[in-house]
Symmetry: C2
Subunit: 407 residues, 2 copies
């Protein structure tokens, strides 16, 4: 039998999805499971988008241009103008989700063995896309103590080698919810220019900024025209993850020309999804106002409930819809399995994503979980109750740490 590739062996299973068999066990046991492990919001896709699909008048579901509908790209340029980012439609390529945009960016900019520095914890699939492109991820660990703020620039600089070709951030962050300040971004900008690196920013949660805080795009950092590559997606913005429509935005024309070659190879992004994406640009502001208000409430409810549990620590983030919480256990992955398989609270339990999959350093985040507040408030309250009760009953809590002698 011919073997599989080394790349394939390195590819991690999704940390978000790897507990699925335990969840299936829980469901088969008759338990109700609160799914806080995945960023699939329960928010409705805007009605205008759903109506547009219903009223399609296609005779043939054809390929589009490899870079996406020209009308959609022009619409996106207007949307970006509306959020303060001045780009021409030719600087926007429509992709099959943000995932493909990132793959194209990595394939276009990196050769086998090149290195990308990423503050961790980071979106787990950055690892997968790096492996696909043969790129080595060099992590800089951010800390729960300061809410996962950008680590010091000295920490980044220490990690720059001859193979370093880029820095990647997610802003606001998945899984941390952290929203970078303008000052933090400017520090990154200076470093990127000093070493002539690419700066990639996943800004798909741009609209999800709370408490009056503002989002700052890398596209607005002065001097970065040739260095900044923004990754975007309609998935979370309009609660239409299944449309699989994203975008790559850059002012670097060599990168644009290159990405287009990769785009041509796969022919075109999904036509039906593009119809949805183009219509989504007409979504009224009231939709976002309601959604943001809902997420703020959910965040507050969940973070407060978590911090009220003895031994749990959870910073309150200013963006996206995830939190990282530290639990009073040694091995959060084992706990996440146990709570599905061996526990219930009035017939209910919780599915969480162990945070270790969001770190690249071994053992980092071992006692942390990521929770997505994508369910309605009452379910979040019930989920937190389950968690509190589970932590009281968990037979292995801190058993390993108990063996560590105090110094």
């Amino acid at each position: 039998m011919p073997g599989i590739s080394n790349k394939a062996i390195q590819m991690p299973s999704s940390p978000i999805r790897k507990l699925v068999p335990y969840a299936e066990t829980a469901i088969n046991q008759g338990k109700k499971v609160f799914f806080l492990n995945i960023g699939q919001p329960d928010i409705e896709t805007p009605k205008n988008v759903r109506d547009k699909i219903a009223n399609h008048n296609l005779k043939v579901i054809e390929y589009s241009h490899s870079a996406g509908f020209e009308s959609y790209r022009k619409g996106l340029a207007k949307y970006y103008e509306g959020v303060g980012v001045d780009v021409d439609y030719e600087q926007i390529l429509v992709t099959t989700g943000g995932s493909e945009a990132l793959q194209f960016a990595f394939m276009s900019c990196f050769d086998e063995g090149d290195e990308v520095i990423i503050p961790e914890p980071f979106y787990a699939n950055y690892n997968s896309f790096s492996i696909s492109a043969g790129v080595k991820v060099v992590p800089v660990t951010s800390k729960i103590e300061n809410g996962f703020a950008l680590p010091s620039i000295e920490e980044f600089e220490k990690r720059i080698s001859l193979r370093t070709k880029g820095i990647m951030i997610c802003n606001p962050g998945n899984p941390t919810g952290y929203l970078y300040t303008k000052e933090e971004l400017e520090k990154l900008r200076d470093l990127v220019l000093k070493y002539d690196l690419y700066l990639f920013a996943d800004e798909v949660y741009r609209e999800f900024c709370y408490d009056g805080k503002e989002h700052h795009s890398i596209m607005n950092l002065e001097g970065l025209a040739q260095h900044a590559i923004m990754i975007d997606s309609v998935s979370k913005r309009y609660s239409m993850c299944g449309a699989r429509i994203g975008a790559l935005v850059t002012r670097n024309k060599y990168v644009l020309e290159t990405v287009l070659k990769f785009a041509q190879a796969r022919l075109s992004p999904p036509t039906l999804g593009q119809i949805a994406g183009e219509e989504a640009l007409n979504t009224p502001q009231s939709y976002f106002d309601e959604v943001i208000a809902e997420y703020v409430e959910r965040r507050n409810v969940l973070v407060d409930a978590l911090n009220a549990i003895p031994g749990v620590r959870c910073p309150k983030p200013s963006g996206a819809f995830y939190v990282i919480a530290e639990l009073p256990v040694e091995d959060a992955e084992k706990f996440c399995e146990w709570i599905l398989e061996h526990f219930d609270y009035n017939g209910k339990t919780v599915m969480m994503a162990p945070a270790n999959g969001f770190y690249s350093m071994p053992d980092a985040g071992a006692n942390q979980v990521r929770l997505a507040y994508v369910l309605e408030k009452n379910h979040l309250i019930e989920a937190a109750e389950c968690l509190e009760n589970a932590l009281e009953k968990y037979p292995y809590a801190m058993e390993e740490s108990a063996k560590i002698p105090t110094l």
Copy 2:
């Protein structure tokens, strides 16, 4: 400015799309252009599919399972049973077009520097996906003289090295339309088993077999359970290229597990496209009967018209909807540019794909073009008239070959 990757530099522009600027010039000059360069059929998508999309009742356009809707995979298993291929739904992964299926297959099976042998001319994007995966394409040239039949197995065997890890075919072939016989496939099977290689087959044109000839899938070759990987797509079958739905099918569970990891990284195939794909399984046989009858007529009309032009040679293929024609010119790419830019026949001209982009050997296919018979018969007749007229008027016809001394 940071540089782009070596991979990106190697990536070819699409040979199917690279003449687009010349076509735009022709259109700006007021010419009517017959587009025979691209496999975008004018055939309508089945009505049941279009209706199903219009009657969607989604509240949230959600992610699906990374391997695709379970119901769709089960439906696909039944479809394969109907075409004589016995596979379980768990041996089917739904992908974003056949393109993604092929990328997943190459990423899963090949490491940087591994080699895949492909009979040429072949679908140009096999080159692109190979470059993305760091794979070296080793071509075996098939000949227009025998209609692009499988080259002798000795020719394949000569090209096997320590790095060879697979053989890739397209059946029926794009761009040749050639339909492999069972005997040809069995010879490949024996070779693949002898050297323990993967056999990849792009079978997306399975339904397009003519003159009573039968399609033989690699999935039915005995002894190949661990070696055969089939690539599929709904694009051509139901004239819905823009749905971007394909599939990877294999009985090799290590490959399946591996491909699923790549699939998880990109989250899910398009949800709206999957709804279309699942409904397409209910398309009545009458749809295919009509479409096949139409393609047979188109093929006959085009091939007869081409062969009636002095100096043109075009084998009549038994499958797909492409032909390769040899023209009495030295450099078909230059001719394809000229016919768009400097020629018209009653205000009309033709866009063709120069065949050199479908070959990997330098200079191979230099005097050939690929034509897709995706337009209605009258347009094909008009296009052939244009071509005949253009060849009469072309000032550079055979000028280079005229310089070659006869031996």
